[in-house]
Subunit: 657 residues, 3 copies
């Protein structure tokens, strides 16, 4: 598969269907234009129906039939759902809730990442599956496990987790005195004499020490990573030349997605725009507007994130094909949205889009989750749209890879854990605040890469870090050495790795860049607003406000208005750096970040509120998430490859020139 | 007692009062016009103060005094509140919560229906009480236990429940393969090898298999039924000629009330209109309007339900006499409402209305619950109103039984469990949706019978099934063979008994009647609305929308409007059947169900919003729940038996002719 | 220290800082004008790093340095945070939650008041500390433990608590029959045969008997008291002449603060106006108005309460110096508020105001809690304001003690437990209702003493009891014998000590004063309103309404309006007594309580809504909590000691004459 080639796929569960259907299913998949089929991620009990007895025949036949129909198989390790016999043999593999109670078999993800027994069993089954199919001629890629973190399963309060956490702390701190200093145990008499005294931070009378909690979050993330790495190594050993991936989710920050990048060959994620809209950041009026098209920025955010996590390569492993079953409400996508979302993924650099699932299940938990086909095998909305996408792909000139974007957007997982461990009140949901910043940039029509602190910074004109609580010295050095300009949000650099106030006050290491001290922070109620003046206009901020003191070389770009400390600096800057000391509301972010783009020399194109752009190779895509027909911001003489200049509701266009 | 005779009663607790008061209490009851007195449902610890030692003397005397005063005693088995000594002897009788923790003694209903030990103890005490009083000359009826399901006590997660559930599943499925197929365990590797592997569906990491959950709900209902049946058999053996009943509650669907009908001789229920209003379906403005009169339809709904459950015979065992103690807020009924509610019950076919309770308790949990008398023995509001009802009964010509209503309304408990197990989002509370449909019919002035699928259908002109998720083939056949027309709500026929999508898609067995396939369902947020055109007007629906495909013989009666799939069918019909593919709001239900009544040839009389009618024998009753004086819709020359043509606020009238 | 002298202090944690900083810290404290420093309340693990090994040296040096700098030390017993080694040795000292699960080490207050082992350990460490520093020349006062009740730690459901509760019940009731009668166990078959059968009232299927719950609350309060008394006795034995105190909190009613008065020499409390505003009673608009100044009445309420608890003497042990870390949102105080709150405390009679804390911690749970200094040692807002207060104190003539106020306001803890045990619905938060009444009186410009039922009543002109559910006979007698007039709120006298309806109906013992029977109570939804006419105007009440019957000598002062029982008495009176049968909203309370002040001959001065007065000795203070400049209600010729007649936003003035 050459970089830049586009293909389509589907998730299929032969174990759920009468074998008589398989051949016809395979033929219909191929006829629709699908090239990939994912198998097996929940098939453990079918593959190994009793301890040590493997039943490969059915799967051999399924893979054979699919492969012969021209489909490339993505095989999975089935560790996301251990069978009942294993749970009964070794109940200690089950996760334990924050209430101290062991969870039960009966759904999925019922395992504790810290269980040594489960790690051994997972390696055993992964080895067996990889040995069987690793080098199979129809198997062209591998998925490890399924959706780490779904159903809040990264954290487990089991005895195994406690033992592993003690070990992890020992490795991290070396001696207990270092832990005492890091956690600040001189406070509230929390002193520890030995690592073995440390417990998991649940059922504590008040908040535990923030570093205690943040270390537990960090540890839990590391457990996911090492769990994954073990399987990836096994699979890679048996599957030469086949890329290994994992299907990530929207919005999960329970483990460090950048950290897992080494142990995957490309990233993939599961895109459910409407379910995520319902549980997302938008106020009701906006949710109503996008009820059948999705949050215009949340989907793209994930594409831009996972493109980075995958080192430039990503797939959509599961694409919503119609209504789902799991959100608080489950509206249908507008007709055309399956095609729309597919091209949105391609525009952001996806190589493959795979739909979940082939045929709607008539039983079990997800029977209200649609597929390409209805439960009776007749086509649903998505089938026709997918066939159309396949035809469009065939007619599309090669798009190439996405170029490096002019703007880098920093998402740092340890900073998110710091915000969870030290929220300072209930104001603001970190993921929502960050997405608001991202959305404001997108409304300016610019392309964005989402990066971690470890990423190379070459070529970026602007780096935006809305919530980089823990700024690493190395990152700051490389940023200083780069040609980029940067805008930092409030709380940036405000904590050390041990979640302490940095020497010299926040923004800690960023003070190397900009002469500034944060002398006060306030978390503010939702119903209050702060105003600030910027560029001659008065703007609104909410939820967070800092009082800052600046050095002589630092310029005040915006000042707070109102009764409290009027004239106090709201945005300051020096040279290539800007610091925003509050959370501007979306309209205010348009002004602040729009000006930052100009300042950084990034060409921008302010868009109609419902429109979004994405560029890949020579092609520009414009997506209309709203209910009105809008004009594509295409130059005169543009050549339209898809759609046309008038973009209807829930439609898009693509052009060159 | 002849059918159609009306009488009054009261709930009395001699064990709570000094014996010196009993004789005077009995005399005052009789003087008020009360004919019945319920005793003993919480008296176990007084009857059997220590294991095996019975103290009958006090109860003999109490029954004697009451009987000699002319009161007929309803005796109860006291199993709703086992004594502390029994709990201490056998703590395994206690129920276990979903958190796995055993609940404690200290209130009531602290038993697990699956405990073999408790079943033995319940049989033992029931036998003792029934042997003593079964054929007592003053004991004229029996109540088994008290308010099954109160305080969410039908479900218990005890080891005994787990063992019994496994047995129940074994009986239901015969072999484990059948269970695996029914539950769809090929999904998520949920395969079971043996019934003994199955656990109760609590503390599962994500939703359990819906059939797993629905089977547990069904099992739990069956446990209530068999618990009841055992006691009913004991009592019947000792109490020849005395009707056996149980006092059901408003809104409890945790067990199948139709299923218990064989094991009672008449139904009774406990009517607390204001407490239930507070916890009910109405928006705030309507709650404010009816704050002191009650939901105009919820009370009647229960009367119509329990009339059916009792095979045509029902009592109100506990009638609210004033403010209660247990709701989120506890306003007083308007003066006159105790009389109003009493006649509302009689109008709907009640034979007896019994007030809870004789005298307000000055101690314990319900000391804020009013009675006919205040705690100091002086009369409260209800006393005078009850005396007036007694006089009115005496002056009233025999009403006879309620005639079969022209409209049958289907309430199917397994369908409600299906909705609980597979809610598909948070849109809509099933009980509220159904009550909205019932209310719309009642606003048309028609009488309604509430039935289960097993009921005889002869004589009904219209059958309305708002949420018959699991439509039984036998019911469909009998409906087809009847002369009735029917209106089905969305989701009707959408699941098999095993909670699977039926072959050929929903509405499954209803496709025999109407050529229709549901190809998509959507659950929608509260703040969104869908519009549809019907009968030349545009109407609003909320919460649920289906896309349906129809055959040639099927007519589209209403079409969706708006941006999403405009013109898609919202209501369709063929011959005697109609299917509504959404949840019309109340105003829209008036149009849709009003038209259905006309179509079915049911005479209707659209009423002022606050007015409701009920007919019994030759008498028509009109009840005004609102704050304004309204005119009774009586024909010219009507003879008023109670009230008059101008019906004041919180008042009613009854007439013939 | 002479009564009436004013001083300042600070909370300091030498164990958290490098010893190199101590001397400079001490010098800076003294330079700011601070006279007191509190030490040691969380230092157990530093004082006794392993079982039985004490490390006094560092604390000796710290006390020495501070004392030599002129600071008087308040030493604390460190029992609020037992060290990990003790928890590991004796895990049974941990509290148990209502879910039956043992809580964990990792924050503070992780002990069960009923644990015999912890009581022994607490006595041991208190003895050790008191022996070392009781008579130390620099130690001038003692604090026992820290903030009893914080983090909901008064209630524990441990086996030790169960055993102690049984003992407590045995002591209270003598024989089990008395308990059965008091709890009303003839209801629901709840009879007990022995005290050893009684369990703690958690995990009960429905509400436990209210007397069961109330007794558990009372018992738990008594456990706090006896825990405190044991330590206070130890400290007093070693610390002659040093006052013993405890630092109470805002709004905690989990234990009887009046009951602890014997075991303290003066009261102190921890004043966090902004955090408490966020979690308090005010609607959003008022919270917005006072976001940076605090609820104008809540702070004063505590001053007036703890002045009484301390027998006329109280300190503010912890005064908020800037934003805190623990509320749902944490805004900054307006500049000037630290000075404002300090003088508000002095105006209400405080002798000392101590700020929490000296320097902001850069680590652990409270790193977002400000201090006088920032984490880097530079001054924060509070430092300059404190210095100014110190200068102002020096210039202020002696204020003397607060005179007895003309108005006494009754806060009775057992009545609050009764309201918790028998809330009768969700209408109204007792603490908020009471604070509304207090605020209405304060808006009339009068000074108030908050008292318990045991307080002497001499000299009060008006006693206001908004929620005296359990009125003691002795209190009623003393009130009758006093010269005071009284206004009682609804529910007054409505329960006996055993939480039963009193003989002759409510208001029980108050019927001695006023011929009145409450024949009905209603709890009403938030969205409903009742109206009543009083003094020629129509007023609104919410949440609670009673129907009362009066004797001949009782006059109706206000009558309900509207559809329900119009003309029914809303306020009645006889002689020196008034009874209000509903909860008037704040505006209506202004009228009702304003009239009551006139009736009682208390001079009043209705104030602008944002202004509050307080008088101490010859000086009158006026505090402006609002955003506008207001005129001080000072007489012509007043001499201003602080501020001037025009009082700016968030400012105050003080004058004589």
């Amino acid at each position: 598969m050459s970089a830049g080639a586009l293909s389509l796929g589907v998730c299929y569960y032969p174990e759920q269907w009468d074998e008589a259907l398989w051949a016809e299913d395979a033929a219909r998949m191929a006829a629709l234009g699908l090239g990939w089929v994912r198998l097996g991620e929940f098939a453990w009990s079918r593959i190994e129906p009793e301890p040590g007895r493997f039943d490969w025949d059915w799967l051999d036949r399924a893979i054979g039939l699919l492969g012969e129909a021209g489909l490339r198989v993505i095989m999975s390790t089935p560790t996301a759902a251990p069978p009942k016999w294993l749970v009964d043999l070794a109940p200690e593999i089950l996760p334990v809730g924050a209430d101290g109670q062991r969870r039960k078999f009966g759904a999925r993800r019922h395992y504790c990442f810290s269980s040594p027994r489960y790690r051994a069993e997972a390696a055993r089954i992964a080895e067996a599956v990889a040995r069987r199919y690793g080098a199979h001629r129809h198997v062209h890629a591998w998925q490890i496990d399924n959706e780490y973190g779904d159903h809040d399963t990264v954290l487990s309060y089991s005895p195994a987790a406690e033992a592993a956490f003690r070990q992890w702390l020992g490795d991290r701190y070396g001696e207990i005195g270092a832990l005492n200093r890091a956690w600040g145990t001189s406070f509230w008499s929390m002193h520890y004499d030995a690592f073995d005294q440390i417990e998991l931070p649940n059922r504590v009378v008040d908040d535990p020490a923030p570093a205690h909690l943040a270390d537990f979050l960090h540890f839990s993330s590391d457990q996911v990573l090492s769990f994954h790495e073990a399987q990836a190594a096994i699979v890679r050993a048996h599957a030469p030349g086949r890329p290994v991936t994992h299907n990530f989710m929207n919005g999960n920050t329970d483990f460090d997605h950048h950290g897992i990048a080494e142990a995957i060959d490309l990233a993939s994620w599961d895109s459910y725009p409407l379910g995520n809209l319902v549980h997302g950041r938008l106020p009701e009026a906006a949710q109503a507007r996008y009820m059948r098209t999705g949050d215009p920025d949340q989907i793209a955010f994930n594409h831009d994130l996972y493109r980075g996590v995958g080192g430039g390569r990503f797939w959509v492993m599961e694409q919503q094909p119609g209504p789902v079953n799991w959100a608080a409400s489950n509206p249908a996508p507008a007709d055309g949205m399956v095609r729309f979302w597919s091209w949105l993924a391609f525009a952001h650099g996806a190589e493959m889009v795979s739909y979940f699932r082939w045929r709607q299940a008539p039983f079990a938990q997800e029977q209200f989750h649609t597929g390409l086909l209805l439960a009776d095998g007749t086509p649903d909305q998505a089938a026709g749209e997918v066939a159309r996408v396949a035809r469009e792909i065939a007619a599309m000139p090669p798009l190439g890879s996405r170029a490096r974007a002019p703007v880098a957007f920093v998402l740092d997982y340890p900073s998110r854990w710091a915000l969870a461990a030290l929220p300072q009140g209930r104001a603001g949901v970190p993921a929502h605040v960050a997405l608001d910043w991202y959305a404001a940039l997108r409304r300016q029509g610019v392309d964005i890469d989402i990066i971690g602190q470890g990423a190379a910074l070459d070529g970026y004109r602007l780096v935006v870090a809305p919530d980089l609580v823990i700024a690493e010295a190395d990152f700051v050095s490389r940023l200083a050495a780069s040609g980029a300009r940067a805008v930092f949000g409030p709380r940036s650099g405000s904590k050390t790795v041990a979640l302490q106030v940095p020497e010299g006050l926040p923004p800690g290491p960023l003070r190397r860049l900009i002469d500034l001290r944060v002398t006060r922070v306030e978390s503010l109620p939702d119903w209050s607003e702060e105003r600030f003046s910027f560029d001659g206009a008065s703007h609104v901020a909410r939820g967070w406000r800092e009082t800052i003191e600046i050095g002589e070389g630092t310029e005040v770009l915006a000042r707070f208005e109102g009764a409290y400390r009027p004239g106090s600096a709201a945005i300051v800057g020096t040279g290539r750096w800007r610091y925003v000391a509050t959370w501007p509301v979306p309209e205010a972010l348009d002004a602040v970040l729009g000006a930052a783009l100009d300042w950084a020399g990034v060409e921008r194109l302010p868009l109609a509120p419902d429109l979004r752009l994405a560029r890949r190779g020579a092609v520009t895509f414009a997506f209309n998430f709203g209910p009105d027909t809008l004009m594509a911001p295409a130059p005169a003489g543009a050549r339209f490859l898809l759609g046309r200049a008038e973009i209807g509701p829930a439609d898009f266009a693509a052009w060159t020139g």
